[in-house]
Structures are given as C-alpha cells and as structure tokens.
Amino acid sequence: MQSLRLGFMMAVVIMAAGCAHQMTIRADIAGLALPAGATPIPKNVGLHISPDNRAKEVTTPGGGGDKVSYRPYADMETGLYKVFGNTFQNVDLLSTLSDVNSIAKHSLTLIAIPEITTTSSSNGVFTWMATDFTVQLSCKFTDVAGREVATVSSTGTGHAEFSDLKSDFSVAGERASRDALEKFQAAVLQSEALRK
C-alpha cells in the first residue's frame, strides 16, 4: 500500500515537473499617470501589435527546473496604450499598418511598433514560480509612410519573495512590466525626435 501511495505521489510530481506554468506579466496600471509638469506630445499615435505578436506565447525559466509561459505582447498591450494615452494627444489601436482608413479617421501622424523581450529566473528549488524577471521594451516610431522617426527603449526588473508569490504567482513579472512601462514613459517624454 505504501509503495502504491509513493508511486502515485511520484507520478504527480513527475507530471508537474518540467511543465510550463501559465502566468502573466500584466502590469497594474493604476496610478500610471503623466508626471506633474510634463507636457504630452501634441500628436496622435497609432499602436500597432501584429496578430502574430499578440498571440505569441513565450516560455522562460521558473523555479525547481520548471518553466513559466505567458504572452508578453497581449499582457503589455494595455500598459502601452495607457502610456501612449498619457504621453501623446491621443492614441488609437491600429490593427494593420496599411489601415489607411484608421490612419485618416484618427488623424494619426505616428505609428508605434513595440518589441518585447523577457528573461526570468528563480531562487526557488521547490516552487515553480519565477522570482526575478526582466522586461526589455523597445518601440520603433515611424511616420505614416513608414519612415523611422525614433526608437525608444527601457528595461524593467521585478523581484518577488515566496511570501508575495503565494497569493499571486505572476507578481515578479507584473513588477518588471510596470517598471519597464514607467521608464518607457519617461523616455518617450524626453525624446526630442518625437516632438519635432
């Protein structure tokens, strides 16, 4: 009986080990506002994330030999929209780069095309959650003809202790994306090329 019980528990552990555990890197955007005294860029920007990037799921290391998987573009889309809403006169979603009707309807003069890369790691041996995260955000801005105007980048980091991860498995990733968005917002506001 004891061998049977042990065998069952081992089977559960084996099935769980090496799995990719679902998490998110959605930043909490509450309080992500235009800093006092900052002036928005007087232009309308279209945020474009391709359907492939939106659906893209990446898998990076978690703890205890396990992995974590998430959708960086889908998770950060709202935060990016919020940042562009803060830093520009107006932001609209641009589903395709050739959507001339939307470009004209919303009087867009800039198009933002983000690129996101992430890394993760964990100091946990017995738990799968990632305790450390890095989110690198790079955004190419073009005019409506596709000519590059500027590229703005930021890197966010997030760390979480086991006590935080117990109730929110994703907290390290959420902190990293929030950090990346705050730094990205500051960099956009400082970009002279975007104000020209």
Binding site: M9, M10, V12, V13, R26, A30, S167, D168, S170
Partner: protein, 187 residues
C-alpha cells in the same frame, strides 16, 4: 534517491500546488474593448455601485481544486466588475465622476471550475443598468461561458485558471459593448 527524502519532496510538491489562498489578478482592460467604446463616440459616464446577488453559482471566494481565489478589490467580485468598467471607460477617455450618465448593476453568477479531467470553465452573469439623470435607459443581463484547456496537474491547472479570470471579465464586457442598445444608452 533515498526513499526518506523522496516522500517529503513529493508531499511538499503536492502541498504547494493545492490548498492555497490566492488572489485573482487585477483587471487589465482589453484594448479591443476600449477601442470599441472610443469609436462609439459616447458621452462621459460614471460608474456607480455594483451589488452581488446571493445565490448558487455566485461564488466569493471562488474555489478551485481546494484553493480559494479572492477578488483583489476589497474581496468583492462585484467591485471587480465595477473596476473593470471604470478602467475601460478611463482608457477610452469617457470616465467622468460628475457625468449625468451612470452605469450600475449586480453580479449574479461568478464561478470558475477546473475538473481533474476536461476543460476549465468560467461563468459570469451580471445585470447592467444605465441611468441618465436618474432615468432608466438600459437594463439587461449579460452572460459569458468561457472554456479553456486545463490539466490534471494542479500546479498547471490552478495558475492557468487564476490567470484566466480577468480574461473572462473582458469577455463579459465585450458582450455588453457589442450591444447596440447599451451604446445608444451612453449617447
């Protein structure tokens, strides 16, 4: 490996993957929903109170495989719906605390299930009321039944269900925003 180490290791893994008190992720707006409100050219709106109607299927906290999933908004899933609406409207530039149009309502069903075998499911039902200067303009119930791939392994199925909750709310609100009568009530 020595059997003496293996048993506690197995037990630790099983314990860590079940029986926890967890928090649902904070709501994150769907930009498609936000853009829909923005394109509809509606009037400024404020979000009033959302109640929770007691009843079977309106769980709080939600129980998933022995773990409990609480709302991050004062442990109230009705407030979760209100916060979701507020965030969508704010991102669309339509939220105004002094607006004449107010959206309120009640959460009537709220549950997530991840059986050991089969898909995960989420069910939400909410009543949405729109009043303009106190006059009723819209009163309808919206429902969503969401299905996703789950797993026998709790350490895979539970985080997947936890991460899914905001997506189920986004889908419920997508139903609301797709209703021409609702959009008309906001104009």
């Amino acid at each position: 490996m020595n059997r003496g180490y293996l048993l506690p290791l197995c037990l630790a893994t099983i314990t860590l993957s079940s029986g926890c008190s967890m928090m649902a992720p904070r709501y994150t707006a769907s930009i498609d929903n936000v853009q829909k409100i923005k394109d509809a050219d509606t009037q400024p709106v404020k979000v009033g109170t959302f109640e929770s109607t007691p009843g079977k299927g309106n769980a709080n906290p939600i129980s998933i495989r022995g773990s409990s999933l609480a709302s991050p908004y004062d442990s109230s899933y009705a407030k979760y719906i209100a916060e979701a609406l507020r965030q969508d409207l704010e991102l669309a530039g339509r939220l105004a605390p002094d607006a004449k149009i107010e959206i309120s309502g009640a959460l009537q069903k709220n549950d997530v299930n991840i059986p050991a075998v089969g898909s995960g499911t989420g069910d939400l039902e909410a009543r949405f009321i729109v009043k303009r200067a106190g006059e009723m303009k819209y009163d309808q119930v919206k429902t969503i039944h969401d299905v996703w791939e789950s797993s026998f392994v709790g350490a895979v199925a539970i985080p997947r269900a936890q991460a899914r909750y905001p997506v189920i709310v986004q889908k419920l609100l997508a139903e609301l925003y797709a209703d021409p009568a609702f959009i008309e009530a906001l104009k």
